[in-house]
Every structure is written in structure tokens, then in C-alpha cells.
């Protein structure tokens, strides 16, 4: 026991001595390198601080009664948030945000997977269509919104004309509160499905052909190969695409504001649109900032959940 103790003491002492000498050396080296490191990192740190400052300034604004025409701005704590959660319109906006983002991302994942499988085949048409299908991604979202607004006009739009050719009667699209959200999801799906398809296609290309070959040798049919081998292997790719799209869909503004402006009524008034209207049309900046902070919190929670899911799936796959 004693030996062990003295050993321990010796070890500890020698370790301390080693630490002390290496610390001295490190301090000397660091004091020489510090300035270079700081200088190299300074722009990045400044930009990061700038971004954070703006964000925290927004959070601070949400705690004030900042409004045009008010001679003085007062700190009002959480009053803006308290006022918001008491209104039905706020909860309607939360619901609209979640419904929009959830259904758009889900539909894009399904259609993206189908498209990616099609791209992975050797069919000539699929090869030709690969670059064409990516076109919606490069269009400015506001142009997409204006284009679809015209196409979805219930009286003169081409969408109803095409439906009429199939014997389907007039559809209200973005002009009716019952169909407006569905119409917006259609626009989002049309625009961003190629993004999912691209990422999923990359995942499919990454699967070793020998794995598929082994499955075939063991008598697995095409559907079983896809369901039990390909899908689990590309799941992390789908989920990472879903993370990006979820962040963007929860924040979506251009497509919604450019088509319905949150209407008819409040049927498509997602948080980002409501925040914009509150701040920049109604000139109630404090309350608008509170809505933006709520939207940010929802994005944060959604993203963290999706990233955890992605890590879990990746671990299982590996």
C-alpha cells in the first residue's frame, strides 16, 4: 500500500513537473503564435459577432414596444409574447407554419426519391431529363410565385384549363382558404423536389454495386433490394436533405408572400409572413420581432430534432 502511495506521489510529482515545463514552453510558443492566430481569425470572429449582435438586437427589439409614431420606446419584457399567445391568429400561424413545412418536406422526400431512382436507371429519357428537372431550383422564388399565381388563377389560369381537359371542374387554388395551403405546398414541391432528387441520387450512386449483386444472387427481388438495402443506405442522405429543406420551409417567405400574402383570410399566414406584415406593413416592429423570434425557436427545435434523427440513422447504417 505504501509503495503504491509513494509511487503515486512520485508519478504525480513527476507529472506536475512535466506539465510545468511543457506549460512554460507552450506559453512561449503561444505568445509567439497568438497574434497570428488572432489576426487570422479576426475577420471570421468579427463577422460572427456581427451576425450574433444583429440577432440579439432583434431579440431585444421583441422586448420593447417599438412602433412608428411612438415618441419613446419602452422595455416591456415579455409583454409582446404574452399578447401574441393570447390571440387565435398567432396559433393559427404556428399551425400554418408547421403544416406547410411538414407536408412540403414529406412530399419532396417521396417525390425526390422517385425521381432519384428514375435518374439512376439507364433509360435515355431519364438521362435527358436530369438537367431539365433541376431548372426550378435556379429560378428566383419570387418569379416562381408570380408564375404560379398566374397559372393558378381560377378563371383564366392554365392549371384549370389543363384540369378541364381531363374533365375536372374548376379548382379554386390559392383563392380559397380550403385549397390555398395545398396549392402553396404544390408550388414548394415543384420548386424544391429537384434538390431532394439530387442529394438522394448522390446517395444511390454511392452504394457499392457488389451489395446489390449479392442481394440478387441471394434471390432478392428489385422491390426487396430497394426496401431492405438501398433505402436504409440512402436514409442519411434523405435526412440531411430534409434538414436543409425543413429549415428553409419553416422560414419560407417569398413563395407565400408572392402568391397569397398569407390569405385568403389568415389561411396561409405562416409566422414569417405574419412577422413581416406586422413589422413592415403595420409598423409594429416590437411585435414583429417577437414573431420572428418565435419562428426562429421553431426552426431551432425542428433542426435539432432532425439532426438527432440523422445521427441515429447514420449510426444504425454504419
Amino acid at each position: 500500500m505504501d509503495f503504491q502511495r509513494s509511487d503515486a506521489i512520485v508519478t504525480l510529482q513527476s507529472s506536475t513537473g512535466q506539465l510545468a515545463s511543457s506549460k512554460d514552453e507552450a506559453v512561449t510558443v503561444e505568445s509567439r503564435l497568438d497574434w497570428w492566430s488572432i489576426a487570422a481569425l479576426a475577420p471570421a470572429i468579427t463577422i460572427l459577432l456581427g451576425f450574433l449582435l444583429l440577432f440579439f438586437y432583434g431579440v431585444f427589439q421583441s422586448l420593447t414596444d417599438l412602433k412608428f409614431g411612438r415618441p419613446q420606446v419602452h422595455f416591456i419584457g415579455l409583454d409582446n409574447y404574452a399578447a401574441l399567445i393570447k390571440t387565435g391568429d398567432f396559433w393559427n400561424s404556428v399551425r400554418a407554419t408547421l403544416v406547410y413545412a411538414g407536408s412540403a418536406v414529406l412530399a419532396q422526400a417521396v417525390f425526390g426519391l422517385v425521381l432519384a431512382k428514375l435518374f439512376a436507371t439507364e433509360v435515355i429519357l431519364a438521362r435527358v431529363m436530369r438537367p431539365v428537372i433541376l431548372l426550378p431550383l435556379v429560378l428566383p422564388p419570387m418569379s416562381v410565385a408570380l408564375m404560379w399565381t398566374t397559372m393558378m388563377d381560377p378563371q383564366n389560369g392554365i392549371m384549370n384549363y389543363l384540369l378541364s381537359l381531363a374533365g375536372i371542374g374548376r379548382f379554386a387554388w390559392i383563392s380559397d382558404p380550403n385549397t390555398a395551403m395545398f396549392s402553396l405546398v404544390v408550388i414548394d414541391v415543384w420548386t424544391y423536389t429537384p434538390f431532394f432528387a439530387l442529394i438522394t441520387f448522390a446517395g444511390l450512386q454511392g452504394i457499392n454495386e457488389e451489395v446489390r449483386e449479392a442481394a440478387r444472387v441471394n434471390g432478392a427481388k428489385a422491390w426487396a433490394t430497394f426496401w431492405h438495402i438501398e433505402l436504409p443506405l440512402i436514409a442519411p442522405y434523405i435526412l440531411i436533405a430534409a434538414v436543409f429543406r425543413l429549415i428553409e420551409s419553416l422560414n419560407q417567405f417569398d413563395i407565400i408572400f408572392g402568391t397569397t400574402q398569407g390569405g385568403p383570410g389568415n389561411s396561409t399566414s405562416v409566422l414569417s409572413v405574419r412577422a413581416y406584415i406586422t413589422a413592415f406593413q403595420n409598423l409594429a416592429f416590437g411585435r414583429g420581432a417577437a414573431l420572428m423570434v418565435v419562428n426562429w425557436m421553431i426552426v431551432l427545435i425542428g433542426t435539432v430534432a432532425m439532426v438527432k434523427l440523422w445521427r441515429f440513422v447514420r449510426q444504425r447504417v454504419s
Binding site: G69, S175, G265, Q281
Partner: protein, 472 residues
């Protein structure tokens, strides 16, 4: 190109002759407009020479003039080379679609961006902008003989329009009637019902005068021709859809956006009069308006009446006039009437004043003022009017000018001048002057959409009133 049904003489006339006649009429019209513009320009230059203002005092400056995409802007833009020649100031117009313009205006001004020097505004948006010191008061420019020409004659603007743009800001609220001048009128509009004579004649319909009459007429029209939208009205969830048809008709029902109750300002939108108005109005919209009502702005209203897809419209009167201009597909087919009114009551008509103001953050205010002064001068207003663009000039001198009166009395404009005079006698600003206009009226536009989509009128108005009260 031949539009619409041909007249008998056109049917008999050989195509070449008809074409050459049309061409020659168009040529004559162009010559007349060009002559008027040249005469006007010469007069403006002479006037400039006679003025004691040095028009070249800001020579070499460049300014940005922001405005809505609008024929009023086109009228000024067409004459810009003359301004640049007169002053040596370069003007860059930045024109945006209606909704985008108002949003961008708020952002540009509220962020104190100096990039826009002159902005187009109306009285109502200016109520929200002035107290934040985002607009430059114009009194000192108007009273400075080095900056304002004697011949500018500010008192030539209709007194009601001048008064509407003059107010005090006291404790963050508007006190109309006296105070500072915040903008100069550049064109104005009163709200009217305009209609396609050809469509109403074809189906033997009389011009409706009340919302219930309009609803009945729409049902008949829809039964006769389902492809035609009986009535074009704005429906977007933005205050601009309230300030035309809705507020004008509401006023005739006795509705007030705000009232003074027990010495305090309160909203009048949940009053019994408001209930009666909304019941009739919502019923009328359901029976008459396009299915795209919730997305329709004035662009859709004008397009509908111009193309003949819409039979009637309630909006600013010049939308009818512009489409009556010779050469337009609907020329001579659009006639005018006062806006609808409550049964057994007289009509009311709201006014909108397109005005030019200086961004308080502009670094070129002197040059900006010279531009405003020129753009709202007698000659530029008259030139714009006889070009068929700046229809409702805010200057009394335009309305007594023979060139304009003769032009506006042409047969293709039907009863434009007479209806204008009738409506203008009763037309007035229908909103209460106060900061917070946009917030309250945007909420009203959203409530209107909800009611048109089937929400209970009484409950929606109660919610609307409570929302407005909570923001006061």
C-alpha cells in the same frame, strides 16, 4: 388591328381604306399630342427663363425618384428629358408594382436609407411616415424664393387637396387642418363605378346603384354569360383594397373607421351600420366578384374591364378613362357612374391623392425639391393630362384649360367629365387622420376576406374591432 364588333361603315369600307383611316387618325392624334407637348415644353422653358429661380443650381446632381408602376408615373417619366435639360439634374425613376412599392417604401424610409430622394405617396401612408420624421416638411422649400419659382402658384392646387396634405404632428398623432406641408399633390382619384356599356346593353341591364341592386344584376349577368365576371373590385389583404370600393360604400351606410366615444377615439367598425354594410357588401362580393377576389389588386380590375372579361368595376375613375383612350381595345365602351350607396341614401366617394414627397434621409434635398416643383408644375400637369395619362390633375388651372377640357370631352370618354363633376362635389377623404392607419386597415382587409370566405359577419367584426382597439 380590329377589336370588338365592327360598325356598319367599317364593315362596308375596304380594309385598306379603313386601315389607312385608322393609321391617319392615329397619326393625327400623335401629332396633336406632340404639338401639345412641344408647346408645353416651350412654355415651360420660357416660364423657367422668366422665373427668378436658378434651375441649374444643382446641376450635375443625380437623384432617384421612386413610384408605383402607374400611368401617372409614365406621364412624368415621358417628360423627364425636359427636366434634365432644364436643370442638369439626372433623374433615375425606380418603379415597382403596387404592393411591392408600399412595402419597399416603408423599409427604405424606416431604415433611413438615403438611396431614394423623391417618393410617391398618398395621404394615408404619409400619416404613418411623417411622425417618425421620415418625410421632409416642405414649407421652407415652398417659401424660399431661391428654391420656388413665382410662377409655381401653390395655391392653384385644389384647397381640399392642399389641406389634406397639411397637418401637425402632436404627441405622435396627426392633427389635420394646419401645420406643415408633407407632400405636394401630383394627381388624385375619386372612386366611381365604371362599366362596359356594350355588355350591359347586350344583356339589357340597368346600371345598379346599391349593393342589393348590384347583387341582383350580377345574378342575371352570370346566368346569361358565366364567362363574364360581373364586378371587378380589389380584394387583396392590404389597405389598398379598403380605400376604394369598401370605404366609399361603407361611408354611405354611415360607417366610420373611427369615432369619438366618451371623449376617446374608438373604432366604429363593429357598429350596427357596419353590420348592415358588411352584410350587403359581402353578399355582393360573393355574387359578383371574380373567384380570385382575394388575390385581385387594381391591375386585375383594370385588365378585366379592358379585356371585357369584367362588366363593371368600382375603383379609381381614371382606370376607366385610360381604357377609353382612342386606340385601346375598350375605347368608347366604358362609361361612368357614382359609386354604389346604401339604399335610400346618397353616394359617397373616397379620394386618394398621389403626391410627391422628399425622403428625410435624402442627401440631395435641393435637387429633389426642384424635381417635385417641376413635376407638379402647371405645364407638366397639363401635358400629362392631354397625353391621356395624368387624368385627374390636382391643379385648378388644368381643369379650366381648353386643351384638357376638349380632350376629356371627346366621345370615346363617354360621360367622364360630367360624372367626375357630380362625384367630385361629394368626394372626400373617408378615413380618420391618425397614425396607425395601415395596421387598422390591413386588419379590415383580412377580416373582409374572412367574411367573403364564409366567416360570421358579426363575430368577425367584433374580432376586428377588438384587434384594432388593442393596437390603439
Amino acid at each position: 388591328m380590329v377589336y370588338g364588333p365592327k360598325s356598319l361603315s367599317e364593315g362596308i369600307m375596304p380594309r385598306k381604306v379603313a386601315a389607312s383611316r385608322g393609321h391617319s387618325a392615329s397619326f393625327t392624334r400623335r401629332v396633336l399630342i406632340c404639338s401639345a407637348l412641344l408647346t408645353g415644353t416651350a412654355a415651360a422653358l420660357n416660364q423657367a427663363k422668366a422665373d427668378d429661380v436658378n434651375w441649374r443650381q444643382f446641376e450635375g446632381t443625380s437623384i432617384v425618384w421612386a413610384y408605383d408602376i402607374h400611368p401617372y408615373a409614365d406621364a412624368v417619366a415621358a417628360q423627364l428629358p425636359e427636366f434634365e435639360k432644364l436643370t442638369g439634374i439626372k433623374v433615375t425613376p425606380e418603379l415597382y408594382p403596387d404592393d411591392a412599392y408600399w412595402n419597399k417604401l416603408t423599409i427604405q424610409l424606416s431604415t433611413k436609407s438615403p438611396s431614394w430622394d423623391v417618393v410617391g405617396t398618398g395621404i394615408q401612408p404619409a400619416w404613418d411616415l411623417a411622425p417618425g420624421q421620415l418625410l421632409e416638411p416642405l414649407d421652407r422649400y415652398l417659401s424660399d424664393p431661391k428654391l420656388t419659382a413665382v410662377g409655381y402658384d401653390y395655391k392653384d392646387f385644389f384647397p381640399a387637396l392642399r389641406d389634406a396634405l397639411t397637418w401637425k404632428v402632436k404627441e405622435g398623432q396627426i392633427e389635420p387642418g394646419s401645420g406643415q406641408v408633407w407632400a405636394v399633390p401630383h394627381g388624385f382619384e375619386n372612386i366611381q363605378l365604371f362599366y362596359r356599356k356594350d355588355i350591359l346593353d347586350k344583356y339589357g341591364l340597368k346600371v345598379p346603384t346599391t349593393p342589393p341592386e348590384m347583387s341582383a344584376a350580377c345574378e342575371k349577368l352570370k346566368a346569361a354569360d358565366p364567362a363574364i365576371t360581373p364586378l371587378g373590385v380589389r380584394g387583396v389583404r392590404f389597405w389598398s383594397s379598403i380605400h376604394t370600393a369598401a370605404i366609399s360604400i361603407a361611408k354611405s351606410y354611415g360607417v366610420h373607421d373611427f369615432i369619438v366615444k366618451d371623449g376617446k377615439l374608438d373604432t366604429g367598425l363593429d357598429s350596427p351600420e357596419s353590420m348592415a354594410f358588411h352584410t350587403d357588401y359581402v353578399d355582393m362580393i360573393k355574387k359578383c366578384a371574380a373567384p380570385s377576389f382575394a388575390n385581385d389588386n387594381w391591375y386585375q380590375v383594370v385588365d378585366g374591364i379592358n379585356s371585357g372579361r369584367t362588366a363593371m368595376a368600382i375603383d379609381s375613375n381614371m382606370f376607366g378613362f385610360w381604357n377609353d383612350v382612342a386606340g385601346k381595345p375598350a375605347s368608347g365602351k366604358i362609361a361612368f357612374a357614382p359609386p354604389l350607396h346604401a339604399p335610400n341614401k346618397d353616394f359617397e366617394s373616397n379620394i386618394w391623392i398621389w403626391s410627391l414627397a422628399i425622403n428625410a434621409a435624402s442627401r440631395k434635398k435641393g435637387a429633389a425639391w426642384l424635381f417635385i416643383q417641376w413635376a407638379t408644375s402647371k405645364q407638366v400637369e397639363l401635358n400629362g393630362a392631354v397625353a391621356g395619362k395624368l387624368v385627374n390633375s390636382p391643379r385648378a388651372s388644368t381643369w379650366s384649360d381648353k386643351a384638357w377640357l376638349e380632350y376629356a370631352a371627346k366621345p370615346e370618354f363617354s360621360n367622364f367629365v360630367d360624372t367626375f363633376k357630380t362625384v367630385q362635389d361629394r368626394a372626400q377623404l373617408a378615413f380618420t387622420a391618425r397614425v396607425g392607419f395601415a395596421e387598422a386597415m390591413n386588419a379590415w382587409a383580412v377580416a373582409m376576406q374572412k367574411m367573403v370566405n364564409g366567416a360570421d359577419v358579426k363575430a368577425t367584426l367584433a374580432d376586428l374591432a377588438s384587434e384594432i382597439r388593442s393596437s390603439m
